[in-house]
Assembly symmetry: C2
Homo-oligomer: 354 residues x 2
């Protein structure tokens, strides 16, 4: 046995001559001893459990440690944002964050037609719209059938959308050599969107309708300005009508005139990008629409005249003192080299979408 090694305790215990259950029971304690023992146990137990109860009570109503769940939630945040943007706002109204208040959906109506820059324009506009909450994009192609280019672009844009189409009738179509202003472009397509709204929205639905061409530039603030439209709201438009900007003139919170350099006699000398209409007003006036045969510059007036009087216009953008939308035009690209290479049989691969 190594030095310093003590045998385990049971080896030191005195031998037991009989198993415990065969030994005689110990004498029962006297009444007083039993009383004291029970009392002590009860008091100790009472004190210990009372302390425990107090601790439990202190925990009541305290926030629990949610840091792990919050961490997971943060990681999911971006994905949820994207999902919201994809799915939200398709019908009627969307819940605003925080307050549980309804945010009126903005219906952005964009007429579009096939041309070399079409995809680029729609990609750029989709990136703007993707930033805006509670927005539904109604894209109307000037085409006999929806095209794969526009359908694919919309599906991958992340913006809630409706894809419509209507072909401009031959008598209204622009012929080669016609000046660009002879036939107002997009009237039939915008009317198709109005029909879709009237066919699918219910009388009680809130919302705002904005006619946004695919080549203009829109600040994000513009959409929050127009969201509170109750009838027809208006604001300045930059780089339009040969001016730095056109704008309604406001006094005492009301529109009292228009700064414009072109046909100031028009009832509503406004560009298409310079106004929005409340959906309930459009639903209440089912006959209001764009007149495809309106004189040049009178297309906007043909719709607005059926909805409000100029004095009823609601000024936005700091009483029409801020330019939040620009009437940018994209150059038609020259494709001379393409034609040359195609004649040589070396044109750009037609299977690659541009």
């Amino acid at each position: 046995m190594p030095e310093g090694w003590d045998p385990p305790e049971h080896l030191n215990a005195p031998p037991q001559h009989a198993p415990e259950h065969l030994r005689p029971p110990p004498a029962p304690p006297s009444g007083a001893a039993m009383r004291v023992k029970l009392k002590n146990v009860f008091i100790v137990y009472f004190v210990v459990s009372l302390v425990g109860l107090l601790c439990a009570l202190l925990q009541l109503g305290q926030p629990c440690d949610c840091s792990q769940q919050l961490q997971a939630e943060r990681h999911r945040g971006r994905d949820r944002l994207l999902a919201e943007q994809r799915n939200g706002g398709a019908r009627g109204e969307t819940r605003a964050r925080g307050g549980g208040q309804a945010l009126p959906t903005i219906y952005v109506v964009t007429p579009t037609y096939a041309r070399p820059v079409q995809k680029a324009e729609l990609v750029r506009l989709s990136q703007t719209l993707l930033h805006v909450r509670a927005l539904h994009w109604v894209v109307v192609e000037d085409a006999a059938a929806p095209t794969a280019l526009v359908a694919g672009l919309l599906a991958s844009s992340g913006v809630p959308f409706t894809h419509l189409h209507v072909e401009t009738p031959p008598e209204s179509r622009r012929r080669p050599g016609d000046p660009p202003w002879l036939h107002p472009r997009g009237a039939e397509q915008r009317n198709r969107a109005l029909r879709w709204l009237r066919d699918t929205r219910a009388p009680g639905d809130g919302g705002v309708v904005y006619f946004a061409d695919d080549d203009n530039t829109y600040s994000l603030r513009l959409f929050e300005e127009m969201r509170s439209t109750r009838g027809v709201s208006v604001w300045p438009v930059g780089l339009v009508g040969g001016l730095r900007f056109e704008r309604p003139l406001v006094a005492g919170g009301r529109v009292v005139g228009f700064h414009t350099g072109w046909k100031p006699e028009r009832p509503f000398p406004l560009d298409m990008a310079g106004f929005a209409v409340a959906l309930p007003l459009l639903l209440a006036r089912p006959e209001a629409r764009f007149d495809p045969r309106a004189e040049r510059g009178y297309l906007e007036s043909s719709l607005l005249g059926a909805l409000v009087s100029p004095a009823q216009l609601e000024p936005k953008a700091g009483n029409c003192t801020q330019v939040l939308v620009w009437h940018t035009r994209t150059e038609k690209p020259k494709l001379r080299q393409e034609e040359q290479l195609q004649r040589e049989g070396r044109g750009s691969d037609p299977h690659i979408e541009v």
Copy 2:
């Protein structure tokens, strides 16, 4: 007293002739009665508290109810996303969500100059860049001093940015009547950005540098394609050089030629929008820069020739089969009415920024 009305209990109690504390104490219970009573109380208390203890044990390790905190977190999600976009990516690398892996910062270098569409162009581009994680926008004005217009726009854009400026020297400046291609625009400004990168980034910093003019159109996918650039990466550009698109031709994963209709003899027949450079490569070759006196079409080659050989180019965008960027040009707006009204003293309010 109304019928059926019983007096309250204390009115029925027998009169007490003395307050309780003056009454003689009751006789103490016998030992046996006390024992039984204590025992019963103890047993009941024990059983009740044991049940409570079991319930408490069952709660241990269970997730607590974090629904309220999660709800609040969801509401804060969008604000946090914006804040991240504002603050993230300013230096070096940014942590990717979830994985803890570093995401190389994309430095987008944009030369810009004062013109009527400048604000619109920068607003539109800022909305594109605001969607991209880990991005830093280096905007270089062609101006003797930073302008309030660009400074204000950058500050409100939500995109992390650096605002630089350098004026094009008089001998390189375009004079009225000069064809647009006589002097390559933006060379001095891009070189200023290269100097900023070399002055402020450390040799070990990761990142990718992309030269993005303010009028092109960029898909969001383009930025994720370029993020993995190790040397110089390349891809097709739409609507450039008179073609539907120009693109590098790829075989076996390597660039073996270029589809272009203009000066195919150039060492790198690529548009400025068609390549990105890894930051470490730019830092390792401090002499590489754009040559402001390069012949027309050779500006890109003047930088790239100092960095790689054509065979080293890394093809992106599905081996250069997808158009993810478009060389769109914005029309110069005609401001005839503005000039007319200004002659009449009725020009657009010069205090309103456009």
